[in-house]
């Protein structure tokens, strides 16, 4: 099995390097095909591992080599495939295989084609390290690695100012969180003496709650960055500057869920500190609502989907925070499928519309892009959580869990958010595919994507539809390592009322969205309508003014402070004081140079002055020596 582990892990790396070889050369299909083939190899290897685990329940654990060893610190490159990581591996390899194949078509005309595949495969490799590592340091390697690849891919079109800006923003914001993560790792090391999950979690059982709380908080700060939780969420929406396959893979299915994975992986730690768990759940619920509200009005398809991702991440954190780790993981998996599908569908639309992102300028695309419409609609239905698609099974169970755990505020928030989710999802569906064909006004000539791209998307479609039915199998598998909490309402009636109520609520939201946006009276908003002038609309479209205030109150002061530090403090104080010392010496030299006028008479006068000074010193010291005792008394009186 170890062989399969290595194949699964390293074939993306080989693919990345292969594509990198063509990095500076003109684009060639082979640079896309080979990494994709290698990724499919990785997918197959992961599937074999999954089958192995499903059949035997054995955990594959290997230690490849030592990475760092000094003092008491010992960090190996160790990899573990257990029920949790194999889930992630499946999600990662599956979605990325799909995205790779899809991207061969999508990036067809881009001159950075080879570079793109190099980065994309490198990302998959980093992500696999992240999920497969058996220690915190290895996790951190992957953690930073995916950050790096995300930087490269968001800024893939590096000639665009907005793209590079977004790339740097994402990287730096993630770094802030990584600092928290690093501190968390240090805490783990100095308190447990090891960074291996196994040893560390075992040692944590005997530690103080206070230390554990700090550990939990700092590790969660790391998770907040990667999973774009409030207040570090702004990078995710800006990250949509990257190519759409990137958004589908990194910013929907895999990287952003790393935070959830971390919390799930550290479940033994978080089980010991339920207070932090509640905090995580509350933050998750808040972010779910907060992100959904921003998605309501946004006029950029990708950003809407990004906010929806953010909102769903909130759901996952609610589950993880409340101790329903397997539910979080399950939702993560289901979400990966339908959200990637949604993004790829959006990619098709963008491709058709020459990278136009404003859904108000589309409309009626359903006629020309039937397949894309079907896929996106199904994905949205899944996202909205309608029976019997994936979202129903994964998302409703989170809402139920919140109810069962008696966190009714969270429950209410999540329920409302479910409605909002349905509304905004179908708002864009309606705007894109239904209603008048507004795009004609702008001279677009939409066309359906390549066949093979659609075929590539189909596995995701299937999974988005059927994933729900795998729930019980999955539950049995994953609870071998995670706490097996089942969430059943005590009363069957309540259960039915709740489920049906939720469904009706969601369906009403969908219908409302259709009614509002699928009719023929929709115009491209020009800022004059009453709604657009309302305060709430402005607040939401400006993302609660958070990016603005970051720019105003963090970035700009930082820039100005840097300049002040450089120009004022470093040059004018620190350096000037050094130069000042030198200047004093030079200055004294210049001044006393006048003494050496060369005029003998003047020099004689100076000589006499020197004589007088020496004589006075003689007198002073003579007197001091004579009256030494008295002086001592006076000095001691002064306290010297």
């Amino acid at each position: 099995m170890e062989l399969y582990l290595y194949i699964a892990l390293f074939s993306p790396l080989v693919g990345s390097m292969f594509a990198a070889l063509y990095g500076a050369k003109p684009r060639t299909k082979i640079a896309g095909v080979v990494p994709s083939a290698l990724l499919i190899t990785s997918l197959i290897a992961s599937t074999i591992l999954l089958a192995h685990i499903l059949s035997t329940g054995e955990i594959v654990h290997v230690e490849m080599m030592t990475w760092m060893a000094t003092g008491n610190l010992y960090i190996p490159f160790g990899f573990i495939v257990d029920q949790v990581s194999v889930t992630m591996m499946m999600v990662v390899t599956l979605v990325s295989s799909v995205v790779h194949v899809y991207a061969i078509g999508y990036m067809d005309h881009d001159k950075g084609f080879n570079r793109f595949f190099s980065w994309l495969s490198a990302f998959v490799f980093s992500m696999l390290i992240l999920v497969m590592s058996d220690n915190f340091a290895g996790l951190f390697i992957g953690w930073e690695g995916v950050g790096l690849c995300s930087w490269g891919l968001i800024g893939f079109w590096y000639h665009k100012e907005s793209a590079t800006w977004a790339a740097n923003e994402a990287f730096i914001m993630n770094r802030i969180a990584d600092l928290g993560m690093l501190i968390g790792i240090f805490l783990v090391y100095w308190n447990t003496g090891t960074l291996q999950y196994e040893g560390a979690f075992a040692a944590m059982q005997n530690l103080d709650t206070e230390i554990l709380t700090w550990m939990g908080i700092f590790l969660f700060i790391g998770a907040m960055g990667k999973s774009a939780q409030f207040p570090l969420h702004t990078w995710l929406a800006d990250a949509m500057e990257g190519p759409t396959p990137v958004s589908a893979l990194i910013h929907a299915a895999t990287m952003v869920t790393a935070g959830v994975y971390l919390v799930v992986r550290s479940n033994e730690l978080y089980a010991l500190i339920p207070d932090v768990g509640v905090f995580i759940a509350s933050l998750g619920a808040f972010v779910a609502m907060f992100a959904a509200s921003m998605a309501l009005v946004n006029r950029d398809i990708k950003r809407v989907i990004a906010y929806s991702t953010l909102s769903q991440l909130g759901y996952m954190f609610v589950a993880a925070g409340l101790g329903a780790y397997w539910v979080a993981l399950f939702h993560l998996m289901a979400h990966a499928f339908f959200k990637a599908l949604l993004f790829l569908g959006a990619g098709n639309v963008m491709h058709a519309m020459d990278s136009e992102l404003d859904p108000f300028k589309m409309g009626g695309l359903g006629k020309t892009m039937k397949a894309s419409m079907v896929m996106m609609t199904l994905a949205s239905v899944a996202l909205a959580g309608i029976f019997p698609l994936a979202g129903f099974f994964s998302k409703d169970i989170i809402i139920e869990a919140a109810f069962v755990e008696h966190h009714f505020i969270i429950y209410t928030v999540l329920l409302l958010t479910a409605g909002l989710t349905a509304f905004y999802s179908f708002r864009i569906i309606a705007l894109i595919f239904h209603g008048e064909e507004r795009y004609k006004l702008f001279g677009f000539h939409p066309h359906e994507a390549y066949k093979f791209m659609l075929v590539a998307m189909s596995p995701l479609l299937i999974l988005a539809v059927i994933a729900g039915s795998l729930k019980m199998t999955y539950f049995e598998m994953v609870t071998a390592v995670l706490p097996a909490t089942e969430y059943h309402l005590h009363s069957v009636t309540t259960y039915w009322i709740m489920t049906i109520g939720t469904q009706i609520f969601v369906i009403l939201a969908i219908l409302y969205a259709y009614k509002k946006y699928a009719n023929s009276s929709i115009k491209v908003p020009d800022g004059t309508s009453k709604m657009e002038k309302s305060f709430v609309y402005k607040l939401l479209i400006n993302q609660y003014y958070i990016p603005y205030s970051y720019e105003q109150y963090l970035i700009r002061p930082y820039r100005e402070l840097s300049t002040i530090f450089w120009k004022q403090i470093d040059m004018k104080i620190v350096d000037a004081s050094v130069d000042g010392i030198a200047g004093i010496i030079y200055g004294t030299g210049e001044k006393t140079r006048a003494m050496q006028s060369g005029n003998l008479s003047t020099m004689l006068k100076w000589m006499v002055l020197g004589l007088v000074i020496l004589l006075s010193l003689a007198v002073v010291f003579g007197l001091a020596a004579r009256h030494f005792d008295e002086i001592k008394v006076i000095l001691s009186g002064l306290g010297v």
Binding site: R593, Q596, S597, G598, L600, S601
Partner: protein, 101 residues
């Protein structure tokens, strides 16, 4: 009225400061030499007086050597003075400023 050592010392000091005045205010090199002679002689008085009052000949010996030094100083100094005068046709101190730093 007994004349003590201090009288001589005070006299020597007065002469010494007259010499200092000369050293400082004279711009003529020759007259500057005169002033230095005064300085040396004032010290000689002090030496002789100390020698007398302590009954020790060391002071007188020193006075001898001071006189010897004064004599050689005059010899060399006047030689230099003449050379300078030949070159520049004056012996004004203010004209000697080649050692300007």
């Amino acid at each position: 009225m007994e004349i003590g050592l201090n009288h001589y010392l005070v006299l020597s000091t007065i002469l010494f400061s007259i010499g200092l005045v000369g050293v400082m205010r004279r711009k003529n090199l020759l007259l500057l030499f005169f002033a230095t002679e005064i300085l040396l002689n004032s010290v000689n008085i002090a030496f002789a007086a100390i020698s007398h009052y302590y009954g020790d000949l060391t002071g007188q010996m020193f006075a001898f050597f001071v006189i010897a030094i004064a004599a050689s100083e005059v010899a060399v100094g006047l030689g230099l003075l003449i050379v300078w005068h030949k070159r520049h046709n004056n012996i004004d101190l203010d004209s000697m400023s080649t050692m300007k730093g």
